[in-house]
């Protein structure tokens, strides 16, 4: 039974040549038009709302598109002027790019390290405590970005926030004057806590799934050979799970690069405090607050290009892993 199933599946999984045995054409469900009919609605929606806007955002970035164009629907092509303005803007190099890139690097490192540590812990727990911790992790994962951000803002509210009071008590700041959201560094430290809290569950559960595939005997052999936990991780676990780590790192990088909601909803993050803008919020603020849709689109294109490069890395890893 299984062999039959395997064979027929294997026949389907490979890249079949277009010419099929005529016998199969007579069976129901093997016509050439049916798969396209089934795919059509989904493809139309994705083409109309994902692919076409991708093209449009590039076209917009080549226009001077402001409030007047939005109302009249006219187009004013200005070539690469938006990009020139963008790349010669000191804000990009001194504020927005450092905020985006440094934050992404630190957040990815923190997310992957915390996630891996939690996965290693989960792997050593008994059934009951593992179930408990897994559920807690899922709860953290499910906390919506909007409400999660408000809780962190609440904690760090200037004056009477619980975290501000606690930091005041140990003498790190003065609760009466300090505003953690005003300063660029402390703003992003709070965002980091929020993003790591939201992002590490995915890493932990993915790495845990990988850890469970490593045979126990290997670990035991390493213990007998006298390898400590640190040595075992770097000589056994990490090389075996290298593809898993690569995927969670790249995915976290994509998410942390384009982080928007968590920044926008923090005090000052909606453009009021220009020193905390990142690529995502800058693009949004230029478009919807300043009505410079062309410039906003150019920033969005820049963000997309960066993400595309990272995505290419992800795809190459994925295709080495698994055939479609």
């Amino acid at each position: 039974m299984t062999t039959v199933a395997n064979r027929s599946k294997a026949g389907r999984a490979g890249d079949a040549p277009p010419a099929r045995p005529t016998r199969r054409r007579t069976r129901p469900g093997t016509g050439t038009s049916r798969p396209w009919l089934l795919l059509l609605p989904a493809l139309v929606v994705m083409a109309g709302l994902l692919l076409w806007p991708m093209v449009q955002v590039v076209l917009l970035s080549l226009q001077n598109f402001g409030l007047r164009e939005l109302v009249t629907g006219r187009t004013r092509w200005i070539g690469l002027d938006n990009y020139t303005a963008l790349l010669s803007d000191p804000n990009l190099w001194q504020i927005v790019l450092p905020n985006t890139v440094v934050f992404a690097i630190v957040a990815v490192l923190a997310t992957v390290v915390v996630g891996t540590l939690v996965a290693l812990l989960l792997n050593r727990l008994g059934t009951v405590s593992r179930g408990l911790v897994t559920t807690a992790i899922l709860v953290a994962w499910a906390l919506p970005a909007v409400t999660g951000t408000y809780v962190w803002v609440f904690l760090f509210t200037p004056g009477d926030g619980i975290a501000v009071q606690a930091l005041d008590a140990i003498g790190l700041l003065d609760a009466t004057t300090a505003n953690p959201f005003a300063d660029r560094v402390s703003f992003y430290v709070i965002a980091l806590l929020n993003v790591v809290h939201h992002g590490f569950p995915f890493v932990a559960l993915t790495v845990l799934a990988g850890l469970m595939t490593i045979p126990n005997e290997l670990n035991e052999a390493a213990v007998i050979d006298g390898a400590g936990a640190w040595r075992r991780f770097w000589s056994l676990t990490f090389p075996t799970l290298r593809p898993v780590f690569a995927v969670v790192t790249v995915l976290s990088t994509i998410w942390d690069f384009k982080v928007f909601t968590q920044i926008y909803l923090m005090p000052g993050g909606d453009g009021v405090n220009r020193s905390v803008l990142n690529l995502g919020t800058w693009s949004y603020v230029e478009s919807f607050a300043q009505n410079k849709y062309g410039l906003g689109a150019a920033i969005a294109v820049l963000l997309t290009v960066v993400l595309l490069v990272i995505t290419m890395g992800y795809l190459r890893l994925l295709f080495k892993e698994d055939e479609l």
């Binding site: 039959v4 199933a5 395997n6 027929s8 294997a10 389907r12 999984a13 069976r27 129901p28 469900g29 049916r34 798969p35 089934l38 795919l39 989904a42 929606v45 994705m46 709302l49 994902l50 806007p53 991708m54 917009l60 629907g73 812990l121 050593r124 727990l125 408990l132 911790v133 807690a136 992790i137 899922l138 709860v139 953290a140 994962w141 499910a142 906390l143 919506p144 970005a145 409400t147 809780v151 609440f154 509210t157 926030g161 619980i162 809290h197 569950p201 994509i254 384009k258 928007f260 949004y284 849709y293 689109a297 969005a300 963000l303 997309t304 993400l307 995505t311 992800y314 795809l315 994925l318």
Partner: protein, 271 residues
């Protein structure tokens, strides 16, 4: 050995504290009658449901919740249908460009939706879809489709082909086989994927913020901002409304995650 189990205990405590603490603080503040009077404690100083009553009464949050629910359900129903059909196509048929279609869906999944907010806003404006719930449904449908198709593909592939062939032998047409054999077998997968589409639509913020300028059309995630005053924030109300938004999602998520993982694993088995 004793040191090892002590370390584990500390680790478990630390993880539980870090993961659950924000949720705990949210709920306890929501139940704290003195939250607006500057009470900042880990346990309510004065237990009350007054914050919830305020949110639904004066806050008008019921309206926003209803909007969110309509948008999310619309996304789920349309998304489940479209994703299932597409998943059957890529999991059950061999056709030219099948691999290209799959790769394209995967790439589309990586598109930063944040970058699409400007063109989609302009498009929605010219189609008169701003300030309508249907506009949001269509947008969320597009966002949830790539993931839903990829996931459903695993569930469909996990159904043995022999079952379909048996139906054909019994004289069933393709449509009959789809309804009576395939659909019941992939139903659990459909539920799990739908939960994720629901959460995507329920939690989404940027598009809801950009598309809706009239207060009556706000979704819950955007309506929350109304409790932030110019000078003082009504934290009791913010946290009560946040709790209402969050708790259903969490219950859904914990259930769906378990199912989805088993479904993905089932779908991943290849010979």
């Amino acid at each position: 050995m004793r040191a090892g189990s002590f370390g584990k205990g500390v680790g478990v405590a630390a993880v539980l504290l870090f993961t659950l603490f924000p949720v705990w603080l949210m709920i306890s503040t929501a139940l704290n009658g003195r939250a607006n009077a500057g009470s900042r404690t880990f346990l309510p100083e004065e237990w009350t449901l007054a914050n919830f009553a305020f949110v639904f009464g004066e806050g008008g949050f019921g309206r926003y919740l209803l909007n969110s629910l309509i948008v999310a359900m619309g996304t789920v129903l349309a998304g489940a249908l479209l994703a299932l059909l597409a998943a059957v196509a890529v999991a059950r048929f061999r056709f030219r460009f099948r691999t290209s279609v799959l790769v394209m869906i995967l790439i589309i999944q990586m598109v930063p939706i944040e970058a699409l907010v400007i063109p989609l806003f302009i498009q929605a404006k010219s189609l008169q879809l701003l300030n309508t719930l249907i506009g949001l449904v269509v947008v969320y449908l597009a966002f949830s489709l790539p993931f839903a198709i990829w996931t459903m593909r695993g569930f469909v592939a996990a159904v043995p082909v022999e079952l379909e062939e048996a139906a054909y032998l019994d004289g069933a047409s393709w449509g009959r086989m789809f309804r009576s054999v395939l659909l019941p077998l992939v139903a659990p997968g459909l539920v799990a994927t739908s939960v994720f589409s629901f959460i995507t639509a329920w939690n989404e913020f940027i598009f809801a913020l950009t598309f809706m300028s009239q207060e009556t059309n706000y979704t819950a995630a955007v309506g929350l901002r109304g409790f932030f005053g110019q000078h003082a924030t009504d934290w009791g109300a913010v946290m009560a409304a946040s709790t209402i938004i969050t708790v259903p999602v969490m219950i859904f998520f914990v259930i769906a995650q378990r199912r989805l993982t088993s479904g993905l694993v089932a779908g991943a088995v290849k010979g």
